[in-house]
Symmetry: D2
C-alpha cells in the first residue's frame, strides 16, 4: 500500500524572494515532491500543503490521511497557528512520521515535540558541507556514499539544542571548522521524527541526488511506524486483570 | 557548596483532603523536605514553594537561585500559569535539575520538556509495588537494595507515553501484573530531569527510607549539571573563525 | 527479494530430553521455522543449521548468504567453536541481522557482541509472564496486543547484565513479582540484534501466535539492515581529500 | 575519600622513539599523571602501571584497589595478555571506571567491552582538530570552552565502529573535512567508560590545559560509579519471594 505523504511548505521565500525563485521556480515544495517521486515512484502518493491555505492545509482530515509529513519553514514560524501545531504534535504521537528540514528546526511542531529550544549557530558564507554517515547499514543511508559533499551551504553549527537523538545518522562538517548533528531520528509516542539539516532557500541543495535519496529513504523509515497500535494519550483507569483477554 | 533545592508542592490534597492530612500532617512537601534533610544534611539548603503563592512561589529570582527543583502536583495541573511552566522549562534548559514525582507526570513543566502526553494506566487498589534497579552502580541507586518493596501503592502501568529515557534506572512491577518505567533520567538542554513514580497522597510512601534515599540521591545527580556552560537557547550568527580565541 | 533466514538450534534438548520432545517433536527449530513461514510466507527463505553439523552449519558461505540468523542455545554454549562465534560476530558487524532467543542470552555470539556478562536471575516455577509493549508503533510490535499473557514460563528477572538497549521494545512481569527487559534491539556495526526472552524448551511458547508474530516481525526489522554499506572494520589511512569523489 | 586512579601506559614509544621522548621526556604516563594531579589534587591518589611489568602491572590486587583506570596503547595491543584484558573487562562490569585514550580504541579491553571492531580512519598530516561540546552542562565539560582548538593532531575520522554511546559529549572536526565522535560515555555493567580521542605520541596534546581538564573531569565522572552494588555477573536461581527481605 502506498505511503501517503504530505509535503508542507511555508511558501514565503518562494513567492517573495527572487533569489529563491531563481533556484526553485516551482517552489521548495516542488523540488521536494520531485525528489520523492523520483525515488519512491508508486510506493508513495504525494500531496502539498502551504501556510497560506485555510488551517495551513493541515486539517484533521488531511492529517488523518497522512502517513508522513515533511516540513519546511523559515521566516513565518510564528504565523503557524498554535492549534495546528498542536494537531501535528498529536498526530505524530499517534503514529504519523514527521520529517523536518533545515530551518524547520525552529518550527512550532518540532519544538513542541522535542521540548528544547532547538537553537543552533549559523552563517551564510558559502561554506562547503560534508555530510558523514555515522550509522552505516541504517536504511536512511541506503545508496548514499559515506561522505556527501555539498559545495556551498549555509553553516549550521553546534551547540544544537536538541535532546540526544534516538539514532544519530549523520554528522556534518563545514569548511569553517564547525560540526553539526545533521541527521537525527527521534521517536515520540508512536511516531518517528527525522530532522535533516541540509537544504536552504538560496542553494540548489534539494536537487542533489544524494540529498533526495536521503529524504526519500527517510519517508519510508518514519512511515514504517505510521499506524496507531492503541490509544496512548489518555490515562485509563485499569481494573485488576483488564488485560487478561487482549 | 551546598545544593540549593526548592521543593514545590501543589498543596491541595494537603489542605483539603483529610485522608492526606492523616498521612502527611506536614504536607507532602513536609515529608519530602524531611527525607532530603536526613540524607543530604548540610550538602543542601532547602526551600518550599506552593501553588497558592504569588507566581506559585517560582519567581525568576527563586528559580535563578535554585539548583534542583522537585515537583509534586495532581489535581491542579491546569491552575499552573503557562508563564511559570515556561519559566521552569527555560531554567531546566539552562542547567537546573528537575525531579518530578508521581502524579507530576501530567504537570505542565514535564509535558513541555518531554513533548509527549505522559499518559499512563492507573488503578487505586492497594497493589504491592516492587521497584527494581536496572542500572546498578548508578549513583541514584547508591545504598538502595536491588528490589524495594512498597506494600501498598497506586498502580501506574505501561504504556507510559514518554520519550525513551537517556537512562532507565528503575522498573516497577505491581501485584496485578503491570510493569512501569518508574525511574527515568532525561537530559534536556543543560539540565537533567529525573522522573520517579512511587509516592501517592494517601499512602505513606515518602516516609519509606529507600524512597527518601533515592530522591536524595537524585537531587545530587541532577544537581551536578546545575550550571550553564554557555547560552544554548539563542541562534547566534557566527562569523568564520569566531571560536579561534575561546 | 526474499530475506534469507538461517534458524540455528543447539539441538541438544531436542535429541536427548523427552520433555522437550513431547512439546517440540520437530525440535525447537521446527517450531520456529513453522512460525516464520506462517507469518512471512514468500517474503523469506528459511534454512536450518545445528551444533552437531561441521562448523555448526555456519560456514563462511552460509553466513554470507544469510540476512538474518536466529539463535537458540542453552546447555552447550561452550561447545560452540570460538572461531564460529567470532565469524557470527563479524558477519553482524557487516550487516547481518541476529535474533537471540531465551537462553541464548549466554551464547558466545551475544556475549561477544554486547561485551557484558548477560547474566540474569531465573526460576522454573510455572510463573505467568506478561509481555508489555513499551514502544507502540514499533514494527516489531505490529499486530501484537499491548499485553501478551504467557500462562506458564520460566522466570527471567533483573538485573539483566546488558548494555542499555538502543530500543527497548518489551518489558515482562512475572507472577512472583520480577520484571525483565524481554525485548531489546541493539545496533552493532552495520547489523541489528534483537534479544527476545520468551521461549523455553519445556513450555509450548513458540506455538503462541503472538510470540510467532513478534519473532517474524523482528526478522523483517533486523533484516532491513542486512547489507554492508562499506567496510567498517579496518582502519584505512585516508589522505586529505580522499572523499572528494565518492 | 580520594579516588584511586591507575594510569596504564604501553610505554613502548616512550622508551624507543626519540620523537616521543622529545615531546614526553617523562613518558605519556608522566604527562597524564601531571595533568590529573594538577586538576584533582588530593581528590585522587594516582599510581602507574605499564606493559612490561609482570601481569602488565594489573594484578587482581591492583585492579581491586583501582576506582578508575586510564589506558594508553598503540603498537603493542597484541602483547597484552588475554587474561589481563578479561580481568579489566570484569572489573569494569563490577564498577571500575575506565578511560581509554586515543589509539587505545583498538585495545583489547575496549574491544571486548564494546563488541565492535572500533576501527576508524586516520591520517598523520598536521590537521587542526576542533573539539566541540555537544552535551553542555555535562560534568565532563565543566570549565572547558565550547570549542577546543588543537593546532596539530593526527586525524581520526568516521566511520568509527562503536555502538551508539550512552552519552555523546564531544564531536571533533579536522581541517581536512572529517568529523569524529571524540568523547563518548558508555555504561557497561556497573562501570562507566569514557573514550577520548585527542592525544598522540608525537604531539604535545596532553599538555593542553583543556585536554587535561577534560581527562580529570572524566576521572571524577566515571569514578562516581566505582562500587559494586551487588554481583551482576552470575545467574542465581531465585526462588519465589527471594527479594522480600532485602
Amino acid at each position: 500500500m502506498a505511503l501517503r505523504v504530505t509535503v508542507w511548505n511555508e511558501n514565503v521565500h518562494d513567492r517573495e524572494d527572487p533569489r529563491t525563485q531563481a533556484v526553485y521556480p516551482n517552489g521548495l515544495h516542488g523540488a521536494i515532491v520531485e525528489a520523492l517521486q523520483k525515488h519512491l515512484g508508486d510506493r508513495a502518493t504525494i500531496g502539498v500543503a502551504t501556510l497560506e491555505q485555510p488551517e495551513h492545509g493541515l486539517t484533521e482530515e488531511v492529517l488523518a490521511a497522512t502517513d508522513v509529513l515533511t516540513w519546511w519553514g523559515h521566516v513565518a514560524h510564528e504565523q503557524v497557528d498554535d492549534a495546528v501545531a498542536e494537531r501535528v504534535q498529536r498526530r505524530v504521537l499517534s503514529g504519523m512520521g514527521l520529517i523536518v528540514l533545515h530551518s524547520g528546526h525552529l518550527s512550532k511542531p518540532l519544538r513542541r515535540l522535542l521540548g528544547t529550544s532547538c537553537a543552533l549557530r549559523w552563517r551564510e558564507a558559502d561554506d562547503r558541507e560534508v555530510v558523514w554517515t555515522v550509522s552505516p547499514g541504517h536504511p536512511i543511508t541506503a545508496g548514499v556514499p559515506q561522505a556527501v559533499v555539498i559545495p556551498r551551504q549555509e553553516m549550521y553549527g553546534e551547540y544544537f539544542d536538541i535532546p540526544q537523538p534516538d539514532e544519530l545518522v549523520f554528522i556534518s562538517s563545514f569548511s569553517g571548522g564547525e560540526v553539526f548533528r545533521s541527521g537525527c531520528v527521534f521517536k515520540r509516542g508512536q511516531g518517528r521524527i527525522f530532522y535533516f539539516s541540509p537544504g536552504h532557500e538560496t542553494y540548489p541543495v534539494y536537487y542533489d541526488p544524494h540529498v533526495g535519496r536521503i529524504i526519500a529513504n527517510a519517508v519510508e523509515w518514519v512511515g514504517a511506524g505510521a499506524r496507531a497500535a492503541f490509544d496512548t494519550t489518555t490515562c485509563p483507569n485499569s481494573p485488576t486483570g483488564w488485560f487478561e483477554k487482549l
